[in-house]
Symmetry: D2
Subunit: 335 residues, 4 copies
């Protein structure tokens, strides 16, 4: 079978190779993959900025969907033919995360899913909502679960709350959709007025161009009657946190998810204590969160925003496209 | 000014009387009332089944809306002319309820609002959403806050959850609206197929006629893939709880709100422990919950369901109508 | 190997039989048992009042401790020689309970542990605190986890709270110990002044003889400045709930655990709503709760109260003794 | 009456002045003060590093205890003669903090208590535990409530948890006492082995000299079986957070309380997201938390650690002493 393999850091080290066919170990299922989605983390992994200790050869990608084609011994909960996705961390079933659970992350501590067939622990997979295409379903494991964990499981977002999203990447658009699904108001930022129009057409109440309004934290306060938002879905990291500290209400909640503005930057934590803020780090989520989210997506017949679908063989081009920042929503692969 | 006064138990003891004009005490506001709404509790109070120790003469009703016309000394948060409603318990501002807070309930421990003007502690009132008519706004203090407390504050309802409502009274319809607002599915019961059609047109997924299906708990299980619902908004009390114990999922939540089936009946609590249920008694809610709910209602431009509006002088007829059970939603008064 | 086997309902249907030796299935461990403890549930199971549909022959008992003597294929987290206990429901690892998890209860839906050797899913066992004897460690899976779940995981007991316990069975004494461990005050009831003295020597502040004071709910209110307790650990069920509703504070918490006063009795639920009570059914708990509790027991070097230790062959006599109600704490078996 | 007055920034601007006697406004009580305690915040206020916009003259100090000597109109909950303390923010009664509530902070947004008599809103005071001396009771409003909020209200500390405290100031020692009260283990850091001995004699399990072990985060991991602590009571701020990120377990809780290492420093927030941490800013707490804490202190007969008591007239010397860092526990004034 074919698989993408990273033989060293750098996009040029990414090779489509032939690998021996895979058989399920005890307790595993083998999934014949049909679609994948890319995350910013995948870019960082390829470049070496995510995990400098990655062992080669490594199969990349955490997100994908496919059909069960084989069951290992002892697997009773699943049948051949079911459409499923692997959890980002197949070892995190429920409850709190631990370091051991964290090490099962696909495409990170464990092998990724960029292959025609993959074997995953049967406890670490979930059925995906029927109304989704394969590409749409492939967007769920990382970005959607992260947004759900941030706003719903951990944030307890409720109707009448106000949520700030940053940019128009996968996590931010899922956060917009989940916020609206719970009756919350959404304010979004972007450097592109065109993208701001698009999030407003998806239900965001206000859009702020952070190029035109560098002090967007203050602008958010003004838009919220000088109170601030209840939740910030923070994907920028240290480079945007100082503005987020302004944008959030006293006693409010910042879900710290991403570091798109750079992993080495620093921030002054003083406002966290003076304003009684909760800064909650979010590292994807558990299978229980994934299942709970799927019930919501199915009930609402919600559609993930897929920007563009590449062929499985076009992974390098898809990563380039993701890096360009031109996307609005998720970038996927399909075969 | 005119006021309704109860001079003893029984509908015939309800008299429209002239009372001296009211002036605000320190920390109070005087509200010139424009609309009221009725609750089942008001019927019970008039009949003597709610509080047998009620002192006469008593002014009934807990729910109403009006305009501030006078401020007592020390009141700085409010202005004359604002449209406000009194909280059901003006003494319950935030946090946990206590017996002292409970005793401030309007029309119960404290004087009610069935008067042209009422004086209420300025800390115990809230501004009402602007898009609502007076009658609509008058429906909020008891039934809407109860439903919000049950499903949102205490229940933490989220998208993908399933909620069971019983009948089509005020609390049940608000619960339906708040559940939908948070992306939840709703199943409803009624003895009238016509009313079941109406809740389905409001977004309920399924309706069960409990006359035709007395074992509706089992029917609910079947409708939920033999799992049961996540939340029951229990307004019937002991007479319906046994079915609710069947209808709810293991580990699920029953918000125990009403005793429409009778206050002396009993129930076997065994399923509560065997099925790890949470039975949460809900006695209206705090000002903080009311304010939080109002933000949600304003954001969604949600409209309460007003069945019929009587004149202020028609209180006895309005109570009769409420008792008949013909209503769908709230019964109001207006002047 | 020897095992206790129930061949029909009734104590005379309990037979010590020879069974074939046991080998671990995939993912299982085999435990050579050294001690067991009895619960009221075991009495009910033998008599047929717990699960009338029990299939015979059935191996009884849920609680026991022993040493791992064999590992099935795929088991990597455990080593031969470790001292462990099975979870009451080996299938409930973390998160919410479900019906599927509930069906894995030892001695109920699944085979019990009253045998020299037992095979259990390796995910459903826990290491027990080192400072405990075998008999002490054997008391933990049902009664201790139940009390921990009730007061700590679900009740969030904290210093300064007041907890009411009923009688001096296993759950009640564990609740007393866990309450004291968290800085809470404890009030206890019993029909024996001698037992009341014993709980006071363990740190309970007050004891009430419910024979002498049938209106003990009122007595508890008086002892708490007419406020009521924060938590009731309710083991009596319908027969004691009415008093518990008096004893608990407005907005308080009743952990509904047992039905020692009878499984068919009923109660009027009205106070639950009028007093904003939370009645939380507790059906033992998850492996995560068990592990969390073990950390607390180890940190405090807490010792469970073992009333009496019988030999493994004396199970019928031990059950008789439990039924007599003469015990104070747990009744155990050892070999 | 005498009062301390700050006429500009700097210790030399602190003057003991004669002020007109005070009468209670509507809803206020007048308290005749008998003891006070100092916080690091008071030092910062005097120097101008806390609130550069402070208006002069300003009465400093937030913490004190005294006897009610006069009641304003409308005050019914209190009697002359009761011993009480003002809340740090008398406007924060319950529920979430807001900016308006934050502005009522004594000695900050509102006048402080460094006077023989002070007038405070009757809703913003609490009775103090009877077994405490005046100086001991005076330590509670800021440091103790902060530690309680951090570990109990927000952190939900429970038996078996491990808590890291930093240094031996007021908040840290209260955190040690509250952690022990709930059955938690404590690890402490200090630059003084003598102080480490003292916290160990108060029940801390381990002490780490951060001068001798600059990588104390790693040392804490080692002491906790390479898992990390459940809670960090972070009083250092940016200068210690990087070590705290190492010291805490995956999914753990950092209560961010102080910035003793400097208010302008910055930190890399990356570990917050990669390790799913919760960084919860804590800005003292509400009256409800204060009351809840007092019940715990009274039940345990807990004694705050008072390092040294100065006379009321010695405020400047007391501040100098606090700044020297020689203290172990609280520095108080008395008259």
């Amino acid at each position: 079978m074919k698989a993408w393999q990273l033989d060293g850091f750098g996009a040029d080290q990414l090779h489509l190779v032939e690998r021996p066919d895979i058989v399920p170990g005890p307790g595993e299922v083998v999934i014949k993959m049909s679609a994948w989605s890319l995350n910013f983390r995948d870019l960082m992994i390829v470049k070496g900025s995510y995990n400098p200790k990655l062992r080669f050869p490594a199969v990349p990608l955490s997100d994908g969907v496919g059909e069960i084609v084989a069951l290992g011994t002892g697997v009773t909960d699943w049948k051949v033919g079911q459409r499923v996705a692997g959890c980002f961390m197949p070892g995190w079933i429920d409850g709190c995360v631990t370091e051991a659970k964290g090490k099962t992350a696909l495409g990170g501590g464990a092998a990724g899913v960029a292959a025609e067939r993959v074997a995953i622990d049967a406890r670490g997979i979930v059925a995906v909502p029927e109304h989704l295409t394969n590409a749409e379903a492939a967007t769920l494991p990382c970005a959607a679960v992260t947004a759900w964990h941030a706003l719903v499981t951990s944030g307890g977002v409720k109707a009448g709350d106000t949520v700030l999203i940053q940019g128009t990447g996968g996590v931010s658009l899922f956060a917009l959709q989940f916020a609206k699904m719970h009756g919350a108001r959404v304010i979004g930022t972007s450097s592109s007025n065109d993208k701001l129009n698009r999030i407003q057409s998806m239900g965001a109440e206000h859009g702020i161009n952070y190029r035109e309004t560098p002090e967007w934290g203050e602008a958010v306060r003004t838009l919220t009657g000088n109170v601030g938002v209840d939740h910030v879905v923070e994907v920028g990291g240290a480079g945007t946190l100082a503005q987020s500290f302004r944008a959030v209400r006293m006693g409010g909640h910042i879900a710290l998810i991403g570091i798109l503005t750079g992993g080495a930057a620093t921030v002054n934590p003083l406002p966290v204590l003076m304003r009684n803020l909760r800064v909650q780090g979010i590292f994807v989520g558990s299978r229980a969160m994934f299942e709970s989210m799927n019930k919501a997506i199915a009930a609402a017949k919600m559609k993930p925003v897929v920007d563009r679908v590449f062929g499985f063989e076009e992974l390098p081009a898809a990563l380039d496209y993701l890096e360009s920042g031109r996307h609005f929503g998720k970038v996927c692969l399909e075969r």
